[in-house]
Symmetry: C2
Subunit: 328 residues, 2 copies
């Protein structure tokens, strides 16, 4: 098994992507192929010696998709970009999964165009693992789509269940439909119809869940359309930033609070980590015909390592075959 | 001016509602009429002596709408409920505004049915003031509607602007459209169309804002449909609870962190307060033909006092007339 890593994607590329691959090789024994400008990747890679060298190869790709590029256009025109080439390695079988922390739209588009959809899946979805008070809840779609129909939400529930049980290792997956009330008569047209379909889906459907239930870990899988999911994902990010900023201000108020802040620093660090993207590495784009992990633009080496681990896990668990057979 | 307070609404009714009215009279000089079972209200009121007694009156209402009641049904059948009678006082001119911390659906329905809509307004909206790193941002609709069309969002923007400038006292109100990308070509059908309407609305429209921008205070007024707004509002509530629970666990880890926690307690309390509903008292239901404030079920006396203050402010600023004339 070998994971294709878009080495030119992300705010700290290629440094952090390269180090992430090194860590994955050294700590997890996972092989990867770094895709991008080979001279830049080699230069980075030279710094590290003590890792199993056969586990890391380089695939040259001369172009880079920028964060400002139009996704569809970039994927079509920049045929020799790291993001496109990394996906093609999966298509041709030279790699088993792909990871990109670059332009999110382009990463999704490249996987969608190059790997294609699993037959029967109408709309692939980004499944984002969110840390809750109980553990982790998978929210999907977190932004692959701007609009969805009720049938899409049922497919999200199926794919989310497979991801939660096989990759995240949950024994079973309780599925909740994100809605604005607990009763099945509540909601908009989409959620009213999706509720009825989910009831007879054969999944472990626990009914509607509300916004406040998500981080309380009421369900293992929460489904919603891509617009709502994306707004929530980004709101959570902004709220964490706002809270930690306010907390910092509160803690630097007086000599006493400053001393207190010093004492609680390790605890706070642990807290911050539990709300950190890097712990989960990235979010799979479920429904495309290959394992594709979309990582955060701010990914550091640890995030890359964890994304590589998650990708390897998806391959090992044969998640694509499981999704395919769930549709028969 | 006199504010009608649904004394039987909320988790701590009638105690906290009564004390809230007492505080509003004593500290702010605002008159209120407590609506509900007069013997229960009198019993509570007797505990307090040192407030201007002419500022508080009682209006008897024998029925109570429960949290479990169907809103529309309850408003129709329980004609002598505190929530219905409080709204009727505004309708007949015996009171100038109404506040309820009871069943949210019933509070909205009662105001909608009894006060009616301001002519020209299609859909009233709940405008929720959210604390940001810069100050406060008004998000609407936070759940009065399950579904909206693009024209509704423009009306929300107009009403939100009036509320932000006249009641919250902002010099001007930057309006943002909640969306899943900054470019005007991003979004679902609703947001794409609303963007075009807002561009020519004459408002201070700054374009699309994303979930992460809300608590960063990028806009003063953020508009979205009631489904999305309600999910966000409740998600924020759940996330705050989850974070503070995790923080507590982190802080009680060791003797050192416990000591540190003691030192930072005042700072943390202040932080928690800034994310506290009670500071804002409640959210106005904008677009109904009268000032109606929907308060949180968990409202304490301070929240009731602040809600009464917000209601009085809305009356003083003649927000209904301002909304009415904005539509001409």
């Amino acid at each position: 098994m070998r994971i294709a890593v878009d080495a030119m994607g992300g705010d700290y590329a290629p440094q952090q992507a390269v180090l992430g691959s090194v860590l994955a090789a050294k700590e997890e024994g996972i092989a990867s192929v770094l895709v991008g400008r080979s001279e830049e990747i080699s230069r980075e890679l030279k710094q590290y010696q003590d890792y199993p060298q056969d586990l890391i190869t380089i695939k040259d790709a001369r172009e880079v998709v920028e964060f400002t590029d139009n996704p569809a256009m970039a994927v079509r025109k920049k045929r020799d970009s790291s993001i496109v080439v990394a996906n093609q390695l999966v298509k041709t079988g030279e790699a088993d999964a792909v990871i990109s922390a670059g332009n999110t739209g382009a990463a999704m588009t490249a996987s969608l165009f190059i790997l294609g959809r699993i037959p029967g899946i109408s709309r692939p979805a980004i499944a984002i693992p969110l840390p809750t008070v109980k553990g982790v809840t998978v929210l999907l779609d977190a932004g692959a789509n701007a609009e969805n129909d009720p049938e899409d939400l049922v497919q999200f529930a199926v794919m989310g269940t497979i991801y939660a049980t096989s990759v995240l290792g949950l024994a079973s997956a309780k599925v909740g439909l994100l809605n604005i009330g607990e009763e099945e008569t509540k909601g908009n047209k989409l959620s009213l119809e999706a509720h009825q379909l989910l009831k007879t889906s054969g999944l472990d459907f626990i009914g509607n869940v509300e916004g406040k239930d998500i981080l309380m870990g009421v369900a293992d899988v929460v489904v919603c359309d891509g617009f709502v999911g994306n707004v929530i994902l980004k709101f959570a990010e902004g709220m964490a930033a706002a809270l930690f900023q306010k907390m910092k201000e509160a803690l630097l108020q007086s000599p006493v609070t400053k001393l207190g802040a010093l004492a609680i620093k390790p605890g706070l660090k642990k807290l911050k980590a539990s709300f950190d993207y890097a712990e989960y590495g990235g979010a799979p784009l479920l429904g495309v015909n290959g394992v594709s992990i979309i990582s955060h633009g701010r990914s550091d080496a640890k995030a890359f390592k964890n994304a590589i681990k998650a990708a390897a896990n998806g391959v090992k668990q044969d998640i694509i075959a499981k999704i395919r057979s769930s549709l028969v």
